[in-house]
């Protein structure tokens, strides 16, 4: 099997990162915005694992960092979902366009 070069993996992770940013700015549903953030974090994970495997194969620091990122992302999502549930009870919607009591 052909060896996949590092550049390809980095291009994949960069595309994933900017897809996440695009989704975060263009989607109006709160859950979809959270999913976009997950895309960003997963692109970071790909970066860490790829650098670890290709450039610094003698240690495991990138892989460990990935484990911590996954854990923290879970904590972040659980808090976000709790807040979204509470928000739904107040506004009866999870569309960010409708939750704007405060404006400039």
């Amino acid at each position: 099997m052909e060896h996949v070069p590092l550049a390809h993996v980095l291009i994949l992770s960069t595309i994933l990162f900017f897809l996440g940013i695009y989704g975060f700015f263009s989607r109006r549903n709160l859950i979809t915005m959270l999913m976009s953030i997950e895309l960003i974090l997963n692109s970071v994970n790909i970066n860490f694992v790829a650098f670890n495997k290709y450039v610094y194969p003698h240690q495991l620091e990138g892989v460990f960092f990935t484990l911590f990122i996954i854990t923290i992302a879970a904590a972040e999502v659980s808090i976000s979902i709790a807040i979204i549930i509470n928000l739904y009870r107040r506004f009866n919607t999870i569309d960010i366009e409708d939750t704007k009591n405060m404006k400039f």
Binding site: F17, G20, F24, L30, M33, L34, I37, I40, L41, S43, V44, N47, F48, F51, N52, V55, Y56, Q59, E61, G62, F64, F65, F68, I69, I72, A75, E76, I79, S80, A82, I83, I84, N86, L87, R90, F91, I96, T99, K100, N101, M102, F104
Partner: protein, 473 residues
């Protein structure tokens, strides 16, 4: 673990103990049965602050993942002091709240995260501390569960902080690709200004700018400050922001010291934007909390002027300014909180004639606003003076001229509030407000601090003796 290593973890250990104690108390519903519960918590936090004042030797733990120096101890003491004062000013609000133990558990968890972040010797610890200090605050912002604004503030805070930590992490992953090991010692030894590190640095800077609400990453700030309960706004504007500023200085000077030529221009532009846009937007605000949110954006712009000096004076001036900013903001939010608790009013127009009905609150508020504006007898003047002096070290005279012009703009914003309180006539004024002793004590401590810190040279000299300039190997 030896006794020595427990001593290094003194700050974190005490906070963790208090959190466990509160969890046990919550299980027993102790706060319903003990009428003096709030006094008990305030005393616990006071003891925590006093224990923190004992001197501590420098050292590292866990293979350099955790480090402590005298400067870090000083920063932790400043944060401890701020949390103590915030607890004092929130006493009235929390007395009638049945979830007050949760408030303190979340508040102290966030403080613990800030301590971990300050003591970090590895980027992993830095990231963990940063997340630990922001996630509980989002839950705190939603503390008034029945209010719409509170939910809206919380969702805006958690989404923007998760997004910004994603950007920060992308930068960290690229930095890992560039240097291979993320411990601070290793990064300092090998970092070179090449395209990959600059790319990584840009993302890391953007992530930090989100957390410090620097323009153009500030859009969440005003809504979150307005929607959250006043005590939480106070915490966000003082402790969250202050701890990130402390860490940002060391990241910028120590980790990225070799890239100074690259970041000087970026910091200058961000500083100019923050000061100008913060002040211009503050002019049209009618809600006092929103006004102070934009004022805090412009204050961070001033801190960046000092940081752009990139010398020992930059560190000293920034820490000194954060200390003064902490006192002034806690005093102003304390007054806003007292008025909001008693009447529910947060609009500037309802503050008309405050001096006639509540002279003490009006005077404290006016003094803290003078300090934020930088008017000479107050400490705020000295804070601004040292920041601008430090900025002069880099020879950025255009930046200094813009900063001086912004001082005038900010003066307009703050004096508008003072005029409303002292001069404007109103048909209905706010009734005289009953203050309890913790609020009065906190306000008096802030006022004394604001009046005398500027005239005690040893404060500045002490911080200066611990500070570091840009670190080059």
């Amino acid at each position: 673990m030896s006794l020595e290593s427990i001593m290094y973890l003194r700050f974190e250990g005490i906070i963790a103990l208090i959190i466990f104690l509160l969890l046990v108390l919550k299980l027993n519903d102790a706060d319903d049965r003990v009428p003096q519960f709030m006094n008990g918590i305030n005393i616990l936090l006071l003891v925590n602050f006093l224990i923190g004042l004992f001197p501590m030797v420098d050292g590292t733990l866990f293979n350099n993942f955790f480090q402590t120096t005298e400067l870090i101890v000083l920063q932790k003491n400043i944060l401890n002091f701020g949390v103590l004062l915030i607890s004092f000013t929130s006493t009235t609000w929390l007395s009638g709240n049945k979830n007050r133990i949760e408030f303190y558990i979340l508040l102290l968890s966030s403080l613990l995260g800030a301590f971990v972040m300050l003591s970090s010797g590895h980027v992993l610890m830095l990231y963990l501390g940063l997340e630990m200090s922001t996630i509980p605050v989002a839950a705190l912002a939603n503390f008034n569960k029945t209010q719409r604004n509170s939910s809206e503030a919380a969702i805006k805070l958690i989404l923007s902080s998760a997004f910004s930590s994603g950007i920060l992490l992308f930068g960290i992953s690229l930095l890992y690709g560039a240097v291979g090991n993320l411990s601070f010692d290793h990064i300092i030894a090998v970092i070179q200004p090449n395209p990959l590190t600059l790319y990584a640095f840009t993302f890391i800077l953007a992530g930090f700018a989100f957390k410090m609400s620097i323009v153009p990453f500030h859009l969440w700030t005003a809504d979150v400050y307005e929607g959250s309960p006043v005590g939480v706004t106070n915490y966000l504007s003082v402790i969250s922001k202050g701890s990130v500023i402390f860490v940002f200085i060391s990241v910028l000077y120590v980790l990225f010291g070799a890239l100074k030529q690259a970041w000087l221009l970026e910091i200058t532009i961000l500083s100019v934007l923050s000061m100008t846009i913060g002040n211009l937007f503050a002019m049209r605000q009618q809600n006092v909390k929103r006004l102070l949110a934009f004022s805090s954006i412009s204050q961070v712009g001033f801190v960046l002027v000092g940081i752009a000096g990139a010398s020992q004076a930059g560190t000293t001036a920034s820490i000194y300014f954060v200390l003064i900013y902490l006192l002034s903001n806690i005093a102003s939010f304390g007054v806003i909180g007292a008025i909001s608790d008693a009447t529910g009013k947060e609009n500037l127009s309802s503050y008309k004639g405050l001096y006639k009905s509540n002279p003490f609150l009006a005077l404290v508020f006016a003094l803290s606003l003078f300090s934020l504006a930088g008017i000479p007898p107050t400490a705020g003047f000295f804070g601004k003076l040292f920041l601008l002096t430090s900025g002069m070290g880099s020879g950025l005279y255009i930046l200094l001229a813009i900063a001086a012009a912004n001082l005038v703009l900010s003066l307009y914003n703050y004096l508008r509030v003072v005029k409303t309180m002292f001069i404007d006539q109103a048909e209905e004024t706010i009734e005289p407000i009953q203050r309890n002793w913790p609020l009065t004590a906190a306000l008096i401590i802030c006022v004394i601090g604001l009046l005398i810190i500027g005239f005690i040279p040893s404060v500045y000299q002490y911080i200066d003796s611990l500070s570091f300039g840009i670190y080059l190997k």
